[in-house]
Symmetry: C3
Subunit: 277 residues, 3 copies
Amino acid sequence: MEKEIVIKISNLLNEVRNKKPLVHNITNYVTVNDCANILLALGASPIMADDIKEAADITKISSALVINIGTLNERTIESMIASGKMANELNLPVVFDPVGAGASEFRNATTKRILEEVKINVLRGNMSEIKFISGLEVSTKGVDASESDLKSGNDEGIKICKNLADKLKCTVAITGATDIVSDGKRVAILENGTKMLANVTGTGCMTTSLIAAFCGAGLDYFIGAVSGITAMGVSGEIAFEKAGEIGTGSFHIAIIDAISNLNSEIIKNMAKVQFYS
Amino acid sequence: MEKEIVIKISNLLNEVRNKKPLVHNITNYVTVNDCANILLALGASPIMADDIKEAADITKISSALVINIGTLNERTIESMIASGKMANELNLPVVFDPVGAGASEFRNATTKRILEEVKINVLRGNMSEIKFISGLEVSTKGVDASESDLKSGNDEGIKICKNLADKLKCTVAITGATDIVSDGKRVAILENGTKMLANVTGTGCMTTSLIAAFCGAGLDYFIGAVSGITAMGVSGEIAFEKAGEIGTGSFHIAIIDAISNLNSEIIKNMAKVQFYS
Amino acid sequence: MEKEIVIKISNLLNEVRNKKPLVHNITNYVTVNDCANILLALGASPIMADDIKEAADITKISSALVINIGTLNERTIESMIASGKMANELNLPVVFDPVGAGASEFRNATTKRILEEVKINVLRGNMSEIKFISGLEVSTKGVDASESDLKSGNDEGIKICKNLADKLKCTVAITGATDIVSDGKRVAILENGTKMLANVTGTGCMTTSLIAAFCGAGLDYFIGAVSGITAMGVSGEIAFEKAGEIGTGSFHIAIIDAISNLNSEIIKNMAKVQFYS
């Protein structure tokens, strides 16, 4: 079964390279250049457009939509909603990255509004963002919160992921030291990656954009999410091998290099996927 | 004649290094960092300012203006117009990059408005953007549209370029596998570059900013456009030689390295320019 | 005395690594990605949020605030003020980078407004920005203005720095070939760095963000400013050693690498600090 999934990932990578899906990103200005470059490196095409006067029109010519609230503002929220609705109408995949959900009332209200007004196909966040969306009480543990998140084990994570996927009728991806993906029925546990990915801004945003590219090239969005996360995890490992000791600047560049050199062979040799259904 | 042009390019590069022209960029947030860094690498100075309350004031202290609609929005369009008018008043060169013209009604209307309200000195775009502006029917050929654009040969491209230059009374530069520049009378065909430039976001935007720097250092904007495109093409080849096999991330950095090391000797040895008048 | 300061810098670096201060940046879209990555490289955590509906809320959960007017606009100025006031209320350090003060009426008025409405803890700028704020007549010397700024010697610089620090009741840092820091009583002269830092956009902005991280980890903001500037200067030297001959793109990446590898030993061996009180 694991082998089957890995083959699906590597086939979908080839589909991305053949179809060159145009991915419309309404995203933050911190990591937008990396999102564009990682999409090009993968073989997809990026387009960024966030004015209400054209957002839906740009979605119309795209194969997938990314909504990322990293630097949300009142102007672009309306564009996110308009583009999201257009994508829904055209049955295009919508990938939502609720950056910082839980950190301010504004982010919380916006996250809620997007989930209510747009049908999301893939939701990707870290554990605290996903827990916030799940409406769970996030236990405050001070500075080592993320540490204890990890130690709470995958069992709790899987439950949260699966339940939220079921509730939102979409694929939910929780990324961290271990990544968990579920569409409510199927569950994948992904073990690729390196801690150093947390030392470069935007590796989460880039993963979201990669997921959108994979979803834009195939119809199984669960596999799309697994593929995007695996592509980033494997490339993170390759980049770490190559530049981990040089520093975080070189590691950052090496991630994009690795995505641009990714192929079926590498996926088959390196992907660490466990699958449950 | 070709030799003469190459000498003009290399002289203008020296002028840029001597005069350090300040280039005002009203541009998109995707590639803005690269535009700033490539201008510094060339020896020019970048300034970015897009609020209507200062746009024209910043243009006033600059040597050239870039208007790039990559992530246009209602707020900054007014600043583009105000800065454009100020540049016209002061006889400063205005370089216009109609990113995505043809892709949405909003971009089309904005492109039209800018061309009507601002006297543009250099227009740089890819074939489909320039065809849109020319009012030509762009034949829809699906995914291989750009391929067939190329195969249609340079003759058609030269005609489009020359006609539009004549109509707009400016220099028009069409960049692609082969670059075509015309001011309505003179025509240059530039053959530098590498396909890999299309795998890094912003190489078009960076070329536009380079053109503005060259135009800010000399009065012949046709030569300014030829110089900016040649600088990028030659640097792309050097970067490909150095980092093409490493990946698109390293290639991206190597482009900026190459621009920072560019000199007359390199231009003279590598520039591939054909000239007709 | 110098040795004591160097020990304080290296201790504060360890504090940053232990406390991982969250630094809220309301900054420009040109260099924002570098600011985020340099903060992560140092061991701090970046957060960018500029909408009035959340700016103060995000400041509330942060350890320090950066206000950088590099691409100021009417929308975000209100957020700068709101966040600044919140930081003041909570006694969080506010670091202000008056990018381009003096270049337009809008920047001048905004600079004035921020200084009037927000209590700034550290002000970091280049000589011409600081002179503008000091209300000094900046003698216009054409293209070599910055050259003559340098030749005017440190004595004048120290006086300007100390007087403004005294007037604003904050730490003032003037960065350039030689950096000067004063809190009105103490003065530090910092001699690290390389001319090549001026060939990469955002090294000033990054220094400002580094200062905020150091100030977020300790209570002596004079030492925070000295630490941020020393970290950048030392890293610039290391980067120059490694990549100076390759080009400005590689040098840019090497700066972030060097910050990510910075440690007490390097600070102790390389910091060039003179101290007067």
